[in-house]
Symmetry: C2
């Protein structure tokens, strides 16, 4: 008989990948609640129903868990941007829709967004090294998809500038600013969010596309 109140009921063999998913589920929930930094490996272990060192059988470091979640999240961003792209000719409306996909992703998946673009190397020793730069690479894939979209509009003669890389980096920075501030400073006296996002995207579009 296994009483749930017993302190150390050894958890059964975790069937490999399933146990790993359980840990990721727990980590995702906690990270989303409190942010990566505020969550300890002991908390993740407790919610996963295993001991804290057992985590290290599945992940080399705590950052690795965040990195894994981040990579997965970015896969969905690329997916969404790709979907938004195929079903639209290069028009102003579709351009803004593409930018909107990016903003929505960041607002909906703040912790994935944080790990990929807002966490700094210097902040925890060597995050980029520890995770092999995998979140960054996943983020770059999204960036390249973004650039491909920009190339379409530039080829159609709709852009103010000619260098697609310059346009893409500038637009990306513009979008990132809004997303990261909304994530990092939710308590700031923002005007109504929907209006702000719409106005921001419209401003970027006016700055990037002709008339």
């Amino acid at each position: 008989m296994k009483s749930p109140t017993l302190r150390s009921p050894r958890k059964q063999k975790g069937h490999g990948a399933e146990r790993r998913e359980e840990i990721l589920d727990a980590a995702l929930a906690l990270f989303s609640e409190k942010g990566v930094h505020a969550v300890s490996t002991r908390q993740i272990a407790e919610r996963s129903g295993i001991s804290q060192p057992a985590l290290y059988a599945y992940f080399a470091t705590k950052d690795d868990m965040a990195a894994e979640l981040c990579v997965r999240a970015f896969a969905t961003l690329v997916e969404r941007m790709c979907a938004a792209r195929v079903r639209g000719a290069p028009t102003i409306e579709n351009f803004e829709r593409s930018l909107r996909v990016y903003v929505d992703f960041g607002v909906e998946r703040p912790n994935a967004y944080r790990v990929a673009f807002m966490i700094e190397k210097s902040e925890h020793g060597a995050f980029l090294e520890k995770t092999g730069g995998r979140p960054m690479i996943a983020g770059l894939e999204a960036f390249e998809m973004f650039r491909d979209i920009v190339v379409e509009y530039q080829a159609a003669g709709l852009t103010v500038l000619d260098d697609p890389l310059l346009i893409t980096q500038t637009l990306w920075a513009g979008l990132h600013g809004l997303v990261s501030l909304l994530i990092a400073r939710p308590e700031f006296p923002w005007i109504e969010r929907e209006a702000l996002i719409a106005a921001h995207i419209a401003m970027l579009r006016r700055g990037a596309l002709k008339a």
Copy 2:
């Protein structure tokens, strides 16, 4: 009876406020080298030439040191924006110059910028609470100066939109995106920095001002 006479400062090696400045100097140097998170209170103490607990006679927490440095840095930002403002009529060139002041500040004082806008509440427990939101308030002062500038251009009929707050928040987000990415992702394959900054500012200007 308690005499409210001013007490002469009984100072030892570190003459009161001087000691405090020594600590801030050490902290600033270390923070700039490695980033706030990567510096421990023991390192700061060692460079200050005192024991680690002695720091807590001058600062309630480590975050307090960062906050103090941040507030000072922002005072210089407001100063610079103010200076750039008084000597310019509302023209396109002067508008871009104002935006440029902000970007230059962020690039030159990355650690102050980080503490004010890139560090999150969730990242270290309760940074905002612990520091009484002082860095945030200092940042808001800069924001308000920025809004005042925007109001000038709006009053001169140069802006595309009418709501100064909306314009300011949008422009600010656009600028923040570039600054924070340059700070957080220096290893990203950016195009040449000067060209990027100029193009970014020009894009924001096109999006915000009429023709």
